[in-house]
């Protein structure tokens, strides 16, 4: 039994259970080399993704008709954004309901591309509705109308949303 004690004590003092090095059959160089190759393929796929995005943009949203709408929010602890609905010329363009993760990303300063589509050159009407809740649990929703002119170049419009607490206009439209 004294051998048992010694064995057990050795196990205790050796610290972590992985001091025995589970990966003896695989060298660290093998792991590094594989890691390097994984990094390379990531780089390749990123480059494919970028080229594919360009192709998609050319094919689906040519610059003379392209319109992209972005949403950002002003930091307001008293207001929680739940959803945004956007209509262009009276037609529903998009209706987005926010997940917790998405909302958090917006609160940290991220900007969401909420819609990319096509419109003819000329003047257009934009209607933005935001739906949310105030800190006291009251439902809050607001709709604003805007007009924008589409030229021959791609159009990017930034929509900034703010709760009623900030004393600003709830929905602001900026040209980018």
């Amino acid at each position: 039994m004294s051998r048992l004690i010694r064995t057990l004590m050795l196990l205790v003092l050796a610290g972590g259970p992985f001091a025995t090095g589970a990966a003896q059959d695989i060298s660290r160089d093998d792991m590094r080399s594989l890691d390097g190759q994984v990094q390379e393929i990531k780089s390749d796929v990123l480059s494919i993704a970028s080229d594919l995005s360009n192709l998609e943009e050319r094919l689906l949203y040519p610059s003379n008709t392209q319109v992209a709408l972005f949403v950002a929010i002003d930091d307001d602890e008293d207001f929680r954004l739940d959803a945004v609905k956007i209509e262009i010329n009276g037609e529903l363009a998009t209706h987005h309901i926010y997940s917790f993760k998405e909302l958090e990303a917006l609160q940290k300063g991220g900007v969401q591309r909420i819609y990319t589509g096509n419109v003819a050159t000329g003047d257009h009407q934009l209607s933005v509705t935001m739906v949310g809740k105030l800190k006291n649990g009251t439902e809050f929703n607001k709709t604003d109308q805007f007009s924008f002119a589409k030229g021959v170049e791609p159009k990017a419009l930034g929509i900034t949303l703010a709760g009623p607490g900030l004393g600003k206009t709830g929905i602001q439209l900026g040209d980018w």
């Binding site: 039994m1 048992l4 004690i5 064995t7 057990l8 004590m9 196990l11 205790v12 003092l13 050796a14 610290g15 972590g16 259970p17 992985f18 001091a19 589970a22 990966a23 003896q24 059959d25 695989i26 093998d30 792991m31 594989l34 890691d35 390097g36 994984v38 990094q39 393929i41 990531k42 780089s43 390749d44 796929v45 990123l46 494919i48 993704a49 970028s50 080229d51 594919l52 995005s53 192709l55 050319r58 094919l59 040519p62 003379n64 008709t65 972005f70 950002a72 993760k101 998405e102 958090e104 990303a105 940290k108 300063g109 991220g110 900007v111 969401q112 591309r113 050159t121 990017a156 930034g158």
Partner: protein, 627 residues
């Protein structure tokens, strides 16, 4: 025999490096904001793809200062490095940050870049390079990373086994809010590495008494106490070790190890009664834990020492059953890994949506192999391999979905081709007519403009004569010519009349010249506007015509090229997944086999000890009956 737990230091550092991506106060570039939106959700592939494209486009501009990204370029380049780091692309991250470091940037930005570069080298285990990067930090340092730099520096020294160099840095960090607990522990480890056992004990004692309610600091406090207890145990100071082992919280991550060591410390001083207490607690805990398994064997051993052989036999029996069941479970697990079920379980989407997905893996009845791998899953090498495997699985999913979209693109192009191709000849015929008419009008317009400009410098009233006046003038000139050759008695009177008529006309042209010129100019201006409208319509027509062509022409080559690249990438990913998966399986099977070996050893010992305990219990009973 004692191994300083340096890996813990490294892991803690990596955890502490998880800072948020850089963000400017007022965002001016929507596309940079979009990249941040993905990064904040942990979608680094998407964030990288967008930011990479945006930065490349910006760098290709003739006047980049007119682009909105210009205001965020430093942040954007940093963020690229950050995202690459988080997406585990250390090679590219290093290059991106080195580029910032070597650019013409101000001191604060350069120092920030140097720190990030050092961090990357540290994570890659390149300590010399990490130190070189840290040495480049000079001058003004951003307040937010001042302590991070010092903590990193100390950890690099420790990883280089130059503990003495880290003393001063770690001492300075003792009062830090963010790093105080870690620095206190690391300083103890540094003393230990340096062979200063007394100072190490004093320092670890201090680290084991810090007042905190932060979960990470509580864990490091437990770790300090466990390490200190273990050192004293190793020195044979069993009684001194006890208070430190008792300080470790019963619900903390180091509780099992501390209970086990506390039992051994008591047993070593032959205080068997006291040893039974921690081991009894531990023996009831999760049976897959190595410390629990050891306690299941140690507890009856202590009862045996107390001459309670009957109870010892019961506990040996329980241990024997438990070890047998666990060996069976391990056999199943090894078999399951060999069948590829482990890798299948890892890539299950519904599991990975949970942030504690690794922990949840063990709750899956169909993946018993994960029961024994919680600690293996937490090791850095295994994590790297595992993350690579998961990243490859994600890449594969993306590539496969892209592959299917190429067919949709082909269909779209074909439909557009079939729609526009028959319409275009007629459109082109009309366009040619319109084009020649517009060209003619443009020439006429140019001539009129030239005439107006000439009239402004050299007045020519006859140029502004009306059609009737021109006819009258022509007629007068014709009559004058006829009169010159005619011989008639009325010649004198006729010439006089002609001169009078001509004079009248000239008078009208001369006196109305300015009025007519103004009217001419006004008409020309109206014409300019009409010409501009015609030109706009013409341009729009040209653009629409081009758009129609561009909507189906010129896609064949890029689509086919991309299709080829995607299919090639899928093959590469498959190959790498196979290799990476195999590595993970080998490591996992090695680990499970080691655990099985240990359990089999325990089982043999338990079987022998059980028989021995029965004998002793029977003998004791016989003795008591004789008495």
């Amino acid at each position: 025999m004692y191994r300083a737990p340096i890996p813990v230091v490294g892991l803690l550092l990596i955890a502490s490096l998880a800072t948020s991506p850089v963000q400017s106060e007022a965002l001016k570039d929507l596309y940079f904001g979009e990249a941040l939106y993905y990064a904040h959700q942990g979608y680094y592939f998407e964030a990288l793809e967008r930011l990479d494209t945006e930065v490349s486009q910006h760098n290709g501009l003739d006047e980049p200062e007119l682009d909105t990204l210009f205001f965020h370029m430093d942040d954007a380049e940093f963020s690229l490095g950050d995202f690459e780091l988080r997406y585990r692309m250390h090679h590219r991250a290093g290059r991106a940050i080195t580029a910032v470091l070597e650019g013409a940037v101000d001191e604060v930005v350069r120092n920030d870049a140097a720190y990030r570069l050092a961090r990357i080298h540290f994570q890659k285990g390149q300590m010399e390079d990490a130190l070189l990067a840290l040495e480049r930090i000079d001058g003004k340092i951003p307040e937010s990373i001042r302590e991070d730099i010092e903590f990193l520096r100390a950890n690099v020294y420790l990883a280089q086994e130059k503990p003495a160099e880290s003393f001063e840095v770690l001492k300075r960090l003792q009062g830090s809010k963010s790093f105080g607990g870690f620095a206190a522990y690391n300083l103890g480890i540094a003393y230990l590495q340096d062979g200063q056992r007394e100072q190490a004990i004093e320092q670890l004692d201090r680290a084991g008494r810090i007042d905190t309610d932060d979960p990470a600091e509580l864990a490091i406090r437990d770790k300090a106490n466990l390490v200190l207890g273990t050192i004293l145990l190793e020195d044979g100071n069993y009684d001194s070790a006890m208070p430190y082992l008792n300080r470790v919280r019963l619900d903390g991550p180091f509780s099992n190890q501390a209970l086990l060591s506390a039992g051994w410390a008591s047993l070593s001083t032959e205080n068997y009664q006291r040893a039974v207490v921690p081991w009894s607690i531990l023996a009831q805990r999760e049976v897959t834990d190595a410390a629990t398994q050891e306690a299941m064997l140690a507890l009856p051993y202590a009862y045996g020492k107390l001459d309670v052989h009957g109870r010892a036999a019961i506990h040996y029996g329980q241990a024997l059953d438990a070890f047998g069941a666990e060996v069976d479970k391990l056999n199943e697990s090894i078999e399951s890994i060999r069948e590829g079920l482990f890798l299948e379980a890892l890539v299950r989407e519904e599991i990975r949506k949970d942030k504690d997905w690794v922990i949840r893996l063990r709750a899956l009845p169909e993946t018993p192999e994960t029961y024994y791998m919680m600690e293996l899953l937490a090791t850095h090498d295994f994590q790297t391999g595992l993350q690579n495997y998961l990243d490859l699985a994600d890449l594969r999913k993306k590539l496969v979905s892209w592959q299917s979209s190429f067919d949709a693109f082909d269909d779209m192009v074909d439909i557009r081709h079939d729609h526009y191709e028959p319409l275009l000849p007629e459109v082109d015929t009309k366009f040619r007519e319109l084009d020649s008419r517009l060209r003619l009008r443009r020439e006429q317009h140019k001539m009129l403009v030239r005439r107006r400009d000439d009239l402004l410098t050299t007045p020519r009233p006859e140029f502004l004569a009306t059609r009737e006046e021109l006819e009258v003038l022509a007629r007068i000139e014709h009559i004058e010519a006829q009169l010159a050759h005619a011989s008639t008695p009325y010649e004198g009177a006729l010439v006089l009349r002609m001169q009078r008529l001509k004079g009248l006309l000239t008078w009208t042209l001369e006196t109305e010249y300015h009025e007519r010129l103004t009217e001419f100019d006004q008409n020309l201006r109206t014409l300019n506007e009409a010409m501009a409208v015609a030109q706009t319509e013409y341009d729009e027509f040209v653009r629409s015509r081009q758009a129609a062509t561009h909507s189906f022409q010129g896609y064949e080559t890029p689509i086919s090229r991309l299709r080829g690249r995607v299919s090639e990438a899928i093959q590469k990913v498959d190959l790498l997944m196979k290799r990476q998966g195999r590595q993970l399986e080998i490591v996992a099977i090695d680990e499970l086999m080691a655990r099985r070996g240990r359990l089999e050893n325990y089982r043999d010992k338990a079987r022998f000890a059980l028989a021995d305990s029965y004998d002793r219990a029977t003998q004791a009973q016989a003795r008591s009956e004789v008495q």
